[in-house]
Symmetry: C2
C-alpha cells in the first residue's frame, strides 16, 4: 500500500497522470501527448484518455510539469509601488495580458529601494519564473545589466538602463515634459518650478532634461532654486512642494515629475490656501485615472500606460517563447504620449460637460 504524500496530508489524493493512464489503458506518454494536444494520436485513443480524465476529475500538476518541461508559465513583475496608481493600473493590464496567454504573474513591490529589487530578482529566479518584467529599474544597475546580458528573459517598462541594454518599452519622457512645459509657457508662465523624481530613475533624468530643454528653447532661465527633489513619493513631494511654495517669489506654475507628485502639489496648495489654477498652475505626467476626476482635473501627459503595459507583457511572452529571435535584436519601443489639457493648468475656464450631459 504505497501511500502518496498527498494522501497522508489530506484525506484523499488528487488523481495523477498515471491514474489516468491506467484508467484509459494507455501509457503515461500517451496521456501526456493528448493533454498537450500533440498531433499524432489516434482519435479513439484521444477519446479514451479524455474520458478517463473526466471520469477521474484529473487536473494537471503544474509543479511537476514545470520541473519536467523546464517552463513554469509564470512571470515575475516588479513594480516600485502598488500605491502609485500608475503601477496598479499597468500591473492590471500586464496580469490580464499574461493570463490571456496562459501565464500567471507573481507580483513584487520594490518600494523604490534598489536593493529590495535584487532580492526579488533572486527569489523569482529560484522560483524559475520564465521571465521578469521590471517596472522600476535603476538607471545604472550592474546586477540587472548582468542579468540582461546573460540572456535571461527580461523586459523593462517605464524605466530603462542608461546603457541602453535590454528589451524595453518606455514613453518619450523628454518629449512629454517638453510638451507640458511648453504648454505652461504658452499660457504665459515664466517662473516654473519642477519637482524631480529620484536620480536613479531614467524617467526622472529624462523628464528633467525635457523641462530644461523647453525652458531654454523659450529663452527662460532655469533657476536651481525652483527645482526640488520629490523622489516620486508622496511624503517627500509634499515637502518639496511646500518649500517651493513658501519662498518669496514663488513659481506661478509647477511641473511635477509624475502625477503622483502632482497630487501632492495640489494637496499642499490647497492646505496653504493657494488656489489652483488661479494662483498656481500644476501639471503632471503619467495620466493616472484619478487625475481625470472632477475634483482633480489634472493637466498631464498620458494616453500611453495601457499600451506600454500591454506591449511589455506581450513581448515578454514573445521573448520567452522564442528567445533566439531576440538574441541579436532587442525589442525597444518608445511611445509618444499625448498632452491632456484639463483644469489645473488654467487653460480651461470651466470643465466641459459634453460627455455627461450626452449620457443623461
Amino acid at each position: 500500500m504505497l501511500t502518496k504524500k498527498r494522501r497522508q496530508r489530506h484525506g484523499q489524493a488528487s488523481p495523477t497522470l498515471t491514474d489516468v493512464a491506467r484508467h484509459a489503458g494507455v501509457s503515461r506518454a500517451t496521456v501526456s501527448r493528448v493533454l498537450n494536444d500533440y498531433p499524432h494520436v489516434r482519435p479513439a485513443v484521444r477519446q479514451a484518455v479524455l474520458a478517463a480524465k473526466k471520469a477521474l476529475g484529473y487536473e494537471v500538476n503544474y509543479v511537476a510539469k514545470s520541473l519536467a518541461s523546464g517552463k513554469t508559465k509564470t512571470i515575475g513583475l516588479i513594480v516600485a509601488d502598488l500605491l502609485n496608481p500608475f503601477y496598479a493600473e499597468t500591473a492590471k493590464v500586464i496580469i490580464e495580458v499574461a493570463r490571456g496567454r496562459g501565464y500567471n504573474v507573481i507580483l513584487c513591490n520594490s518600494d523604490y529601494v534598489p536593493g529590495l529589487q535584487m532580492e526579488h530578482v533572486d527569489l523569482l529566479r529560484q522560483r524559475q519564473v520564465d521571465g521578469i518584467i521590471f517596472g522600476s529599474v535603476s538607471y545604472d544597475d550592474p546586477d540587472v545589466e548582468k542579468l540582461v546580458t546573460s540572456g535571461y528573459p527580461c523586459m523593462l517598462y517605464n524605466r530603462r538602463l542608461r546603457s541602453g541594454l535590454g528589451h524595453y518599452v518606455v514613453v518619450d519622457n523628454a518629449y512629454a515634459t517638453r510638451e507640458v512645459t511648453q504648454h505652461l509657457i504658452a499660457l504665459g508662465h515664466r517662473r516654473i518650478g519642477f519637482i524631480a523624481g529620484p536620480q536613479e530613475a531614467s524617467t526622472a533624468q529624462e523628464r528633467l532634461a525635457g523641462f530644461n530643454q523647453a525652458m531654454e528653447q523659450a529663452g527662460l532661465p532655469v533657476e536651481p532654486a525652483l527645482i526640488r527633489q520629490g523622489y516620486y513619493k508622496h511624503e517627500s513631494a509634499l515637502r518639496a512642494a511646500e518649500s517651493l511654495l513658501r519662498v518669496s517669489g514663488r513659481p506661478t506654475a509647477i511641473v511635477a515629475g509624475n502625477d503622483q507628485m502632482a497630487l501632492s502639489v495640489l494637496q499642499i496648495a490647497g492646505e496653504l490656501g493657494i488656489e489652483v489654477p488661479q494662483m498656481l498652475a500644476v501639471v503632471g505626467i503619467d495620466g493616472v485615472d484619478i487625475g481625470a476626476h472632477y475634483n482633480i482635473q489634472l493637466t498631464t501627459v498620458g494616453h500611453y500606460k495601457q499600451e506600454m503595459a500591454a506591449l511589455a507583457a506581450t513581448w515578454m511572452i514573445e521573448i520567452i517563447q522564442a528567445p533566439e529571435r531576440f538574441a541579436r535584436q532587442a525589442f525597444q519601443h518608445i511611445i509618444r504620449p499625448t498632452l491632456i489639457i484639463r483644469r489645473t493648468c488654467g487653460a480651461i475656464a470651466r470643465p466641459a460637460l459634453q460627455r455627461r450631459t450626452q449620457a443623461s
Copy 2:
C-alpha cells in the same frame, strides 16, 4: 556526457544540489539538511557544504523543492479589481506580509465576475499554491463553499459567505454604514440616498442593511426611489448617482456603498453643478488613501483595511502551516471601523491645517 536540459537551453547550466554534494564530498541528503537548517549536522560538514554552495554559486530550484516537499510557498490572491484603490492598498499589504514569511503571491483579478473567479481558483490549484486568499467572494458560492469545506486552505477578507463557513476577516459593515448614516442624520439630513453594491457581495447586503437600520432607528422612511444599484463600479455608480440627482426632490445626502462609488458621486455632482457639501453631502466606506486628498476630503468609515489585509495574510499562513489547528475552529475576525469625518459630509466648515503648518 549527460547534457542537462538546462545546459541545452542556455549556454551554461545552473549548479544543482547534486553538484554541491559532489563538491563537498557528502550525500545529497546531507546538503539538503544543511540547506534547510536541520539540527543534527556536524559543524565541520555544515561548513563544507556552505563553502561548496558558495563556490558554485548554488541557488535552490524551488520548483523541484516544491514537487518533493509538497509545498510551493506561494499563495494565490484573488481581488475584484486592482483599479479600486481598496484592493491595490490591501494587496500591497498582503504581498508584503507574505514576503516577510517567505511566501510569494500570484495576483489574480476577477473583475467582479464570479465566473472568472472560479477559473482563477482552478488555475491556482493546478499551480499547487499553498492557499488562496479571496478578496471578493460571492455571498452564495457553492464552489468556494465546497473548496472551504474540503479543507483546502482558504482565507476570505472583505467579503464572506452567507453560510458563515470558512476563515475570514471582515469589517462590521452594518456598523460602518450605521455610523456614517447616523452622522448624516445628526447633521440634519432626512432625504438620504444610497448607492448599493452588487447583490452577490456580503458587504453590499450588510451595508444596505446598516443603512436601513440607521434610517429606521431615526424614524425616517426608507424610500426605494432613493436606493440605487451601483455594483461597486465607477461607470454604473456614475449612472446611479446621476439618476438619483436628476429626480425632483433629490436627496440632500448620499451614502455610497464604498469609497470608489463615492468618488463617482462627487464626479457627477461636480459635472451637474451641485456643490458638495453645500448642496449635497456625500459619504463613503473603506477609507481609501485618495479620499484624504485635499481636493476630495471624503467623509468615510475606515482605519481597517491595513489590519484586515495583514490579518488575512498572517492567518492564511498560520493555517497553511498548521491546518489541524484550524480544522475544528475557524478563524473569523470582525473589525470595528472608525468614522472619519472630512469635508464632503458638511460637518467641517474649512479643513484643518494643523498637520501641515506644524510640519513647515
